[in-house]
């Protein structure tokens, strides 16, 4: 169980969290590699179906950031 690496899908707003993720990269900050970022034009585009599909495909967690 200690070896468990959760798969997380992150729906990120192009103007906010996606840019923040970019900045984190520029600052050479480490963040987990098990995070899969999906860029949305706006978190207002977030769709319930996409959240469910992420879980159905095996995500352990879903993050919405914007």
């Amino acid at each position: 169980m200690n070896e468990f690496e959760p798969q997380i899908v992150a729906f990120c707003c192009h103007f906010c969290a996606y840019a923040a993720a970019d900045l984190a990269g520029s600052l050479r900050l480490q963040y987990p590699t098990n995070l899969k970022v999906i860029r949305l034009p706006c978190t207002g585009k977030l769709d319930t179906l996409h959240v469910l599909k992420a879980f159905e495909e095996g995500a352990d967690g879903v993050m919405v950031a914007g």
Binding site: M1, F4, P6, C13, C16, L23, A24
Partner: protein, 73 residues
């Protein structure tokens, strides 16, 4: 909240996240597996910290019940 490029996109997203959390509880995955965070474009450090923290929380929750079932087979 509301400090959004499209004015209120993240406010609407939050309502949709609440709805999806309700669905996740009904499905049996649990609302805890879905999180919403407000992170502006200047918050690179916070983004990294939030993802590290969320990964920790998901580790505590353990694998998704869908994956656990799949692993047994």
């Amino acid at each position: 909240m509301g400090d959004c490029h499209y004015l209120e996109g993240n406010v609407r997203a939050e309502r949709r996240v609440e709805y999806a959390k309700g669905l996740l509880d009904q499905i049996g995955l649990g609302a805890d597996r879905l999180e919403m965070h407000l992170i502006s474009s200047a918050m690179g450090r916070e983004f990294a910290e939030t993802t590290v923290e969320m990964t920790e929380r998901m580790k505590q929750l353990g694998p998704s019940p869908l994956r656990r079932r799949g692993n047994e087979k």
